[in-house]
Symmetry: D2
Subunit: 338 residues, 4 copies
């Protein structure tokens, strides 16, 4: 397998760490640069779990530096707007870009500007950039030099809901999404709210009615199903490292039974290596440290419920990125992800 030269931008956080672990298992991955604006330490000091696995150091590199090093694919773990500030130049220089952040997830720059309270630096690319969920948008991803890796919560919500909307089983205008995430989702920057003694033995909701994944979920559900989805999304911080469990409640539109819905979803995701429609109620335990989503459906009274579980750092971030990498480079989609 021919090696592909890779750069990881913003390599000091948790998603970059997971990415580097996965790439270590990828026979075609040759990581030639890891960047940080401030840190110049060996990456194995920044992330001690990489000791003996990577010998390179963090560097503050510009697109031209990456080009000089022969970089072919850039994974960007930069904060929002930072990727969109460099992506045009990277693409211009012939590199492919997989963005972990939100910069290219939405189609509409106005929506982005409103929810992120900034002016998007590269609005023209938004409509044409594919949303990096291969299960729904594989064809578009395959031919794109730029991929917008999905948010972690959206992945957990869209995988069960998009098919049910598309199939006409649930109403699009009254979807309640109640998600529970591990603390790694809050990032690696120290703050009172993600201190161990504040999070441990504690569960709480946050960003009620205001979380930025709300428009992302609505837009992608709408794109995928053709129905103008309207959601209420409530994330909760849960005392565990990683994993997201998402419970949704939608209005039932017809008399399809629970078994019908399970069969429909099984058929919808037949052949997908990373989506398992299960009979039992999913637990995050069964999917953490994997790129898989376990999902199921329940009919309760006049409601259809879905319950889905992913690892927020893998299927919700680094694993999805490697999956997209495999798609755009033509590798078997499961490479490094089993």
């Amino acid at each position: 397998m021919e090696k592909i030269k890779i750069a990881v931008l913003g390599a000091t956080g948790y998603t970059a760490l997971e990415l580097l672990k996965l790439l270590r298992r990828h026979p075609a991955a040759d990581v030639v640069a890891v960047t940080s604006r401030e840190n110049t330490s060996p990456i194995a000091e920044v992330h001690p779990s990489l000791t003996g696995q990577y010998s390179i150091c963090c560097e503050n590199l510009k697109p031209a530096d990456l080009q000089a090093r022969g970089v072919q694919v850039v994974f960007s773990c930069l904060p929002h707007t930072a990727t969109a500030a460099v992506a045009p130049e990277l693409l211009e220089l012939g590199m492919k870009v997989i963005d972990f952040g939100a910069d290219y997830r939405l189609n509409d720059a106005a929506v982005f500007n409103k929810w992120y309270n900034v002016v998007h630096p590269d609005p023209d690319r938004l409509p044409s950039t594919p949303y990096g969920l291969p299960e729904l948008f594989r064809a578009q991803i395959k031919n794109s030099a730029l991929v917008a890796n999905p948010g972690c919560y959206p992945t957990s919500a869209i995988l069960p809901l998009a098919p049910l909307l598309k199939g006409g089983y649930i109403a699009e205008d009254d979807i309640i999404i109640d998600s529970k995430s591990g603390v790694s989702g809050a990032g690696r920057k120290p703050s009172l709210k993600n201190l161990y003694p504040e999070c441990n033995e504690a569960i709480s909701a946050y960003a009620v009615g205001t979380h930025r994944h709300t428009p992302e979920i609505e837009e992608v559900l709408t794109t995928a199903s053709g129905k103008a989805a309207k959601i209420i999304f409530t994330p909760h911080l849960t005392p565990m490292d990683r994993g997201i469990l998402t419970t949704t409640y939608s209005k039932r539109l017809n008399d399809a039974s629970q078994e019908d819905l399970l069969a429909y979803l099984r058929k919808f995701y037949a052949g997908e290596p990373f989506v398992q429609v299960v009979d039992a109620l999913p637990s995050t335990k069964d999917v953490i440290h994997t790129n898989r989503c376990h999902l199921t459906v329940r009919v309760v009274g006049s409601r259809v419920m879905t319950i889905s579980a992913i690892d927020n750092l893998i299927k919700g971030a680094a694993g999805a990125a490697v999956q997209n990498f495999n798609v755009i480079c033509g590798f078997d989609e499961t490479t490094a992800l089993l």
Copy 2:
């Protein structure tokens, strides 16, 4: 303060442990008997945290034995139907009974029989037994020799929802209740599902659409508000010892603002020592090891959301029991509960 002779039935579980800890702080409590059908060990061996605090042993005692010992108040932590099998005799012998279980929570024996899949041993007492939530039913509790201590999930859901229903702010027919509980709620009997390596780093839903607290919540909301409440209730097992966070979603019935609703709830619970209506989003962290409930309300689109937090073992069990004990014995309601 005159001492009251107390027996604790079924003393080997977690709720009994918390009860014994609280009673240790109660100036009027004189625990003269702790029972178990099988265990005859010192209670301080069954619960090592009671070392030096209690010297009595577990015994297999009958109502007449308790009477012979002068017991005045019985706290029963027995499994469902076991309390109803002995309560008539205890009451007959002049003892007061506070039941931690479900036996006397519902008014309708048919509903009990259906959800618990048994025949209720003492159906006639159901309609007249007060539901032991003093914030809503203080007057009835005060004059009753038998009190049905509320379920943990119901406490967390009823405290925020009953006033909103009563005030006409939310619709009664489409209430979604998504609860997250610590593992102690599953009891102290070993089983695969509550092993540490199964629960840790894991969140999952269970008993979707079938949890026995569903009819309890519906009935008490209906009683408290006069509206025939209809709910969907989903409990989740969360990797923490104790605490319940309950997030609810109801249809908004009028244009009362979030501030209006907060003000209404504050007024409703003014003077209640154990219910705090808070502006910020509650965390279980702030109420565990206390008898308090923190709750708040949010208006999101066409929905009114409530978020509430309690300790499942205290306000959801042992603390509520001591609060009821204080009510029926005429002590200050906060005794031993600060």
Copy 3:
């Protein structure tokens, strides 16, 4: 009971929170001031678990302000050297001072200066200030206006070791102390090392051979036993909120059996309400949220081992402080601590 006016200095951390919770239960405690250099918020916002319990705000107050408010006892949770910078004036103004920090724990200012790498601001008071472990130094504490509350690790190590040294059962020159502490011991200031995803599912040693509790343990063991104790002390950060388990290994000096040693320790601590000599191996679970220490002893080959458990925030800090408060004010020593 006559009320005592209390101030808590440095009220925003975890030990101050536990202190405020305990004082809420103390019939004589009247907290009239809580201080912070920077924070002016209501203390119930700084610590949401105090909602409805305290209505006062943090203030930046000087000794004269405290005197003006009638403060009689000051609990200081300030960082090291900060208490010694104000204690002389507080004492001069007639207030009693209980210091949570290290400033007055050692007798020898030179040792303090070396280990804390500063110049002690009030060296003359060191030799006469009692070490606030009532189980060993009750008489001295009773008559002192200034008490040095012990460190959390030292409490867990000194309680089992001091009697064994004093009784001549173990050698003083080769004591190995291996301690495991919950993360709250690292304080409430955000830093990478105490982030949830760094601490959770992780155990590690820190400050090997260099922890500042080393000279404190050595000096107090020496004072208490009359033998010049020499220790190796290794603390470990353990994924739990609170609790310290300390395992020690000492050379056995005579042929006293394990039963002899247990009996000796039981006699030594007979009547002490907060030290329980137990047969079984202690768990932090059994002592957290209490002011108690569980300890035991084992003879293994040529070594005597002790294993002891405390709550680092209570018996290791706030509970010990309230115990000292009770001693110096003449209250029953268990007041607010059951």
Copy 4:
């Protein structure tokens, strides 16, 4: 790569689960049988995290059944003495056997019989069976049809101590080993002691002076170093899923500095892919979910300390087994283990 037909005996526990996950990544592994005495469910129901990964069911199979299925290598996760009851026949039938249990770890059946309180079913094979720690016994393993996979605690202790003993840096007669393990080490059989609410927020020592890994560590240290090692070993149950941190204290024999010892260990393990000698203090966090051991050394007074971290289920069990599989089958030793 030619496929090797594999059977996993005793497939319902945690070590078997980890083994099956690793084998899923191994290009030569063809798992054709998973056994259980009682369970006949699909292995993906026993371990939901294997959903979609394995379609076979648990079966109660005898050696002849395995032979009929063409099994070439047997991994046995059976309890002690159960492997030794079938290993002779498996070997006779030409299969290779890697035993996760203790049956073939010791050389001396009398020691086994004493510590395990049974009569060894196959004592003659003990002296010749290699101890499956390739870093120390690679040559012997390579040529053996039977390998005794090391215990988890022994792996964590032997890797740092054996070289120091061999090099003459530490005394062999006074080694203290204080280990801290995650709860998965206690297995998957439900019991009160490994319930979530008993283990969470709790650390405790167990089996003080009596743990069965004691003779194993002593014997292997003796074999590896030529010095008759004598240890005190104390395991602790720590509130985390997996990971072992081992802190050891030995008498320093010469004036080699900490830097000398680090350099010596680095040289000793140069080229070993799974042992990293690190400068910083190891954390289990950095090695869990990997086959690696991080270890370091400290000189503190007259003692040499080592601190080492492994994942008890991987380097301490399933990963070591796959490493041994690679050794005996002639694959690159890191296959499936990066």
